[in-house]
């Protein structure tokens, strides 16, 4: 497989020089302000300093979150970050064609993912490794997409998480349809088995027509659907200002359903707000839009070079808001965890990453027949003939011909 470097970056010296403008000081300040502050309407239950803020509205949704539960959330975030970093490194070593880092978005993904019940369904975009993890998908199962051996093949119905989607925003309509189906089947209501759907997309995606149509459909059909927008401030090189004049959660106001902005780096905030939103949906008051205000700490993907369009100052500001660090501080300060616990989690993360690494290096290439398999559920004679012809042609090489 050719390295993606080759196509998004010219050979050294060969391609166009990096002549992108450096931002002006005013732009830097404006950028910092715009991306670093969530605004007064930001829901936050755990501050960057690890302080737990009470909330009469959302605390009831954290009733069951005791010290152990909080330690588990911490552990979840450490594990997925570690697996994310390992995958990123493996891409650099040529083991993956590309990697899409979630660094910085652990709280948004673990918090919202852990809010789901087994019967709920999640529709991810392509960065939701943390969500997939909370749905019980083995991290290893994600690698095929990025090693380019498959396009998503886990047990979608079993885990309650749909395949990754790369075309920006178009999974939102699929999620709306799925949630309509939950309602049509009578799965919305007061009993414990009531269901809901959550759909993930980014700040950039909000501009797509399909996301709008998803808002229209879900609202008109009262679908039990939580729109979960991870506003990580950037759509590749474009800041959120290129997509909207207003904070994105306010988009919901035009459709007549609630929109709320939560600190996307606050795992408790994300857990509580998403639980609330899912509960609303399960009871028939959907849809709900959540904007998780967070930050993409790494490049867009391993082929991206963020130094061309944003300054490290911004990154530095966001480092102080790290989603994991604040939980660690809180756990330590409240005595809910000792150093031993943190060490154990780190060790576990190392094992987790090592296993992932080992698995990845041993991943086999798919056989050529895979090209032709499952194009259709019912067979197509035309395609069958193409397969036979190609395999016979390949066989010709095996029987002594060279290739």
């Amino acid at each position: 497989m050719s390295s993606p470097e080759q196509w998004t970056r010219p050979e050294p010296g060969a391609g166009p020089a990096a002549t992108a403008a450096q931002p002006s000081p005013e732009q830097v300040i404006a950028g910092l302000r715009a991306t670093a502050e969530g605004g007064t309407e930001l829901t936050q239950l755990l501050t960057p300093e690890g302080e737990r803020l009470p909330s009469s509205r959302f605390d009831p949704y954290l009733d069951d979150v005791d010290d152990e539960a909080l330690r588990n959330l911490y552990r979840d975030m450490v594990l997925v970050r570690r697996a994310d970093r390992e995958s990123n490194a493996m891409q650099r070593q040529g083991q993956l064609g590309i990697w899409v880092p979630l660094l910085g978005q652990e709280a948004a993904q673990i918090g919202s993912g852990r809010a789901l019940k087994p019967q709920d369904m999640a529709f991810p975009s392509y960065r939701e490794h943390g969500v997939a993890y909370t749905r019980g998908v083995d991290f290893k199962e994600l690698l095929g997409i990025f090693r380019c051996t498959d396009h998503s093949e886990w047990d979608f119905a079993g885990h309650g998480i749909h395949p990754y989607t790369i075309v920006i925003g178009n999974q939102v309509l699929n999620a709306a349809g799925y949630a309509m189906g939950q309602r049509f089947e009578g799965k919305v209501g007061d009993d414990d088995n009531a269901e809901a759907t959550i759909c993930y997309f980014g700040d950039g995606a909000t501009s797509q027509g399909d996301v709008h149509e998803g808002f229209v459909w879900a609202s008109v059909y009262d679908a039990p659907l939580v729109f979960f927008c991870q506003n990580n401030q950037w759509a590749i090189s474009e800041p959120t200002e290129r997509q909207s004049r207003l904070p994105l959660y306010q988009r919901a106001r035009g459709y007549g359903f609630p929109g709320i902005r939560v600190d996307g780096n606050d795992v408790l905030g994300c857990l509580a707000v998403t639980r609330w939103a899912l509960e609303e949906c399960r009871r028939g008051n959907g849809p709900v839009l959540i904007e998780a205000f967070t930050y993409r700490m790494d490049a867009h993907t391993t082929t991206d070079d963020p130094t061309r369009y944003r300054l490290s100052d911004e990154l530095e500001v966001w480092k102080h808001k790290d989603p994991i660090e604040r939980v660690r501080v809180h756990l330590a300060r409240t005595g809910a965890a000792e150093q031993e616990f943190f060490d154990e989690v780190d060790a576990e993360a190392d094992r987790f990453a090592a296993e992932l690494r080992e698995y990845c290096f041993a991943m086999p290439d798919p056989p050529p027949e895979r090209i032709f398999s499952e194009v259709y559920a019912d067979p197509s004679p035309v395609l069958d003939a193409q397969r036979e012809e190609y395999l016979a042609y390949l066989g010709g090489f095996a029987d002594g011909g060279e290739r």
Partner: protein, 341 residues
């Protein structure tokens, strides 16, 4: 593999003379009766029964949750249908006129066509998209086009077209019970044609969905076509027969996968082929037919495969459509060319 279509148990007369429109209506009804996961979705298909009345009465009898008057957006219709299919439903979408399918093109190409392949069969998306297509109705822009070749080019989709009431009745049911996404092109100008009325035996066993069918045998040349042009070709064959030229006529029925076996077989006998379609010719289904026939019947062809199609222009103002659409004269002219080669 999909369950075979069962003839619905009906108490009323089994054999009625139906138009294509009414046959589709009854076919949809039978599919809804047979499987309560079958849903209808589209603009104005409920109380109005669709602008062509093909879904007439269905909302009344099956309710608003099985016959959905959707918001006005085609990407939304198809995109939510995909989601409903993932949930286990079998949605049947109506696109009001073929010219309005394009806002839904991404959902068709990027989701509908690929989900099964992407997931290596873990997910099936049995969605049918019904598309009234073709010209000859004296309509304004975007209401008379033939975009089927675009879908035939996209792997993962199946594309069919009916040309008579019996096929209309059965093919729509077979499309709905097929586990693959099917683009179902309906020859709108023939919907309510009394002349095409046929007795439809709802207890008989239908031909397979993806098979072409010879409608008339002949020796001088072969005509291959589908949808609204089938009637044109049959009329041309009748006219030619009066002058002693026997033309074979093959109704493709399926445009993807193409079932060209009967065409090859026929061309090997007649040596001449004319492919007819209202669609523009460039990079189209008729081009595919010519490409494959010249490959498979190279030594049998006594003349190049001729194509009679819409011109490579946008659909013209309807006052000019009689020129744009293949008609009996243009078909016979092409036959003459082939015979004179």
């Amino acid at each position: 593999m999909a369950a075979p279509v069962q003839s619905p148990v009906r108490t009323e007369t089994e054999i009625q003379k139906l138009t294509i429109g009414k046959a589709l209506n009854l076919g949809l009804r039978a599919a809804m009766e047979a499987d309560d996961k079958v849903l209808m979705m589209g603009e104005d298909i409920g109380r109005l029964g669709g602008v062509f009345r093909i879904t007439d009465g269905l909302q009344k009898d099956f309710g608003e949750h099985r016959v959905l008057d959707t918001p006005l957006a085609e990407s939304g219709i198809i995109g939510t249908a995909v989601g409903l299919a993932v949930r286990g439903f079998r949605p049947v979408c109506e696109i009001q006129f073929e010219g309005f399918i394009f806002p839904g093109f991404d959902q068709i190409v990027s989701q509908l066509a690929k989900l099964h392949y992407r997931t290596q069969g873990r997910i099936t998306v049995p969605v049918v998209i019904r598309v009234p297509f073709g010209g000859g109705i004296g309509a304004v822009e975007h209401h008379s086009e033939s975009p089927e070749s675009l879908f035939a080019h996209v792997p993962g989709l199946k594309v069919v077209s009916c040309s008579n009431p019996v096929d209309a009745y059965w093919m729509i049911q077979q499309a709905i019970s097929c586990d693959d996404p099917v683009l179902f092109f309906e020859p709108k100008k023939l919907y309510h044609s009394g002349a095409l009325k046929q007795p439809v035996d709802t207890t008989s066993t239908p031909d397979p969905l993806f098979a072409s069918r010879s409608l008339r045998s002949g020796t001088a040349a072969t005509l291959v076509t589908y949808g609204p042009s089938v009637k044109v070709c049959l009329d041309a064959a009748t006219a030619a027969a009066e002058e002693g030229t026997e033309l074979e006529v093959i109704d493709l029925r399926s445009l993807s996968p193409l079932d060209l076996g009967p065409v090859f077989e026929s061309v090997r006998r007649t040596g001449r082929l004319v492919a007819v379609s209202e669609a523009q010719s460039e990079s189209s289904v008729t081009a595919e037919i010519a490409a494959r026939v010249q490959q498979e019947c190279f030594y049998s062809l006594e003349a190049p495969v001729q194509r009679v199609t819409g011109f490579d222009t946008p659909y013209p103002p309807a006052k000019l459509e009689e020129h744009f659409l293949p008609d009996l004269d243009r078909v016979l002219h092409a036959v003459d060319n082939a015979l004179a080669w």
